[in-house]
Amino acid sequence: MRIAVSDLDLRYGDLIAARKITFDVRPGEFVSLIGPSGCGKSSVLRALGGLQPPSGGEITIDGDRVRGPQPTRMAYVFQDLALFPWRTARRNVEVPLELRGVPRKQRRERAEQLLARVGLTDAADQHPAQLSGGMRQRVAIARALACDAGILLLDEPFAALDEQTRLRLGGELRRLLEEEGKTVVFVTHSLQEAAYLSDRIVVLSPRPATVKEVITVPSPRPEVGSAEFHRLHAHLTDLLFAAEPA
């Protein structure tokens, strides 16, 4: 599925969160949005997901204008995960299936399958509070997969984790989503993460977010530590920390 964002403006009253954002995401692509904290990344992602109306410009998916949530096309992983604390891991994964009216038994089987897919077979009956940050993260991803949507929108899904776990989970996630053939928009403020996971990187300026540059990562993606990776990292650093015109 192809996402096209053109001249997107986002405002909260007088506050301008994003201005004239234009980029596209091709089917099966993994695109990162990177920018400093508070620049408007989450706002752009919410607009993509139809959770926030654009103040100007438009967003289309396969040519259809986004006007509201489209659960059959897009699934969301929220910055603070948004797991239902009173539900077990399995019952959290069942939510999108419940909303589609899948019968109880199939729901359960599918949820268990997906939990196995993210390596959480044993945690199915635990509540989120009983799980580690990394495990909660996997539950949220399994729940997003349960939506059976072609597009996944992820908002800093690993922000709460340490750098090592973050890169490991990121790698696992990337492989998993590739196998599932998902189109991915991934918001992050981590250079490492963006450089390590993406096919393309949309670099945003501080608020109001504007597109500074869209970087295409060479294929095959460079390994962490390689000279190529360092070049990419350095380029991102330059873009993000370049002095702003006064």
Partner: protein, 246 residues
């Protein structure tokens, strides 16, 4: 563990009562000897006290049920709306403090001295704590959970049922408990003020004749009733939480 604690408290109370009266420190009119009360309880026809307790329980339950049916939906509606809850919460909180029992003569004049006026009084008292607890609990729903549910395609009704109610349930149940307690107390008060049946009437009848032992027998029965009703309430509340928060 809990049962042991209750048993100990009960035994200590009875022992203190027995000691106070047997040693003659207290005026028998204020605190009759334990033995006399036991004798009075024995003399009572079980049919009489069973009937009185049944009448009172039915009235309190009816008032409580009517209050719940009104207060929970009102609370959800007001609690979901920031403007409404700012406007109504303080008003409701103030109304709670008004000694509505002074309205009983009005209720009795319009609804008669029988069951209706007592149910109305009980219901009136139960309404406010339930509505306030619901407004507060609903107002604390995590907006992220609501957004997540919406992104997965839930309708407004579904959001209420699957997010707002389960997340607010512990708070609502706390309100229901207070509401039921108040309904019971005010039904007994109503029966005490006027009428010819129920635990309150029996208390009034025996207190007017300075039949201390009889009066205390009815106090003991009222306490037993409260404990029984509370136990049933706790059981039902636990069942409700198990059903709605899974």
């Amino acid at each position: 563990m809990k049962a042991a604690a209750y048993a100990t408290v009960t035994l200590v109370t009875l022992l203190a009562w027995w000691l106070l009266t047997a040693t003659g420190v207290t005026n028998p009119l204020i605190l009759p000897p334990l033995g006399d009360v036991v004798a009075a309880l024995r003399q009572q026809d079980p049919a009489t006290w069973a009937a009185a307790m049944a009448v009172t329980t039915v009235r309190a339950t009816a008032g409580f049920a009517a209050a719940t049916v009104l207060a929970v939906p009102v609370g959800v509606l007001v609690g979901r709306n920031a403007t409404l809850s700012h406007a109504y919460e303080p008003l409701l909180a103030t109304l709670t403090a008004v000694p509505l029992v002074v309205l009983y003569p009005v209720l009795a004049a319009t609804l008669g001295l029988g069951t209706s006026s007592k149910v109305a009084l009980g219901g009136l008292y139960a309404f406010f704590p339930i509505a306030i607890a619901t407004i507060r609990a609903v107002g604390q729903t995590d907006p992220v959970l609501v957004t997540a549910m919406r992104s997965m395609g839930a309708t407004h009704g579904r959001v209420i049922r699957a997010v707002v109610v389960p997340s607010a349930l512990p708070g609502i149940v706390a309100g229901l408990r207070i509401g039921f307690g108040l309904a019971l107390v005010t039904v007994i008060a109503g029966e005490f003020i006027a009428g010819d049946d129920g635990v309150g009437y029996q208390l009034a009848a025996s207190s007017q004749g300075y039949q201390s032992a009889d009066l205390f027998a009815w106090v003991v029965l009222a306490v037993v009733l409260t404990i029984a009703v509370n136990t049933v309430f706790t059981f039902l509340a636990t069942t409700l939480e198990r059903t709605l928060r899974r």
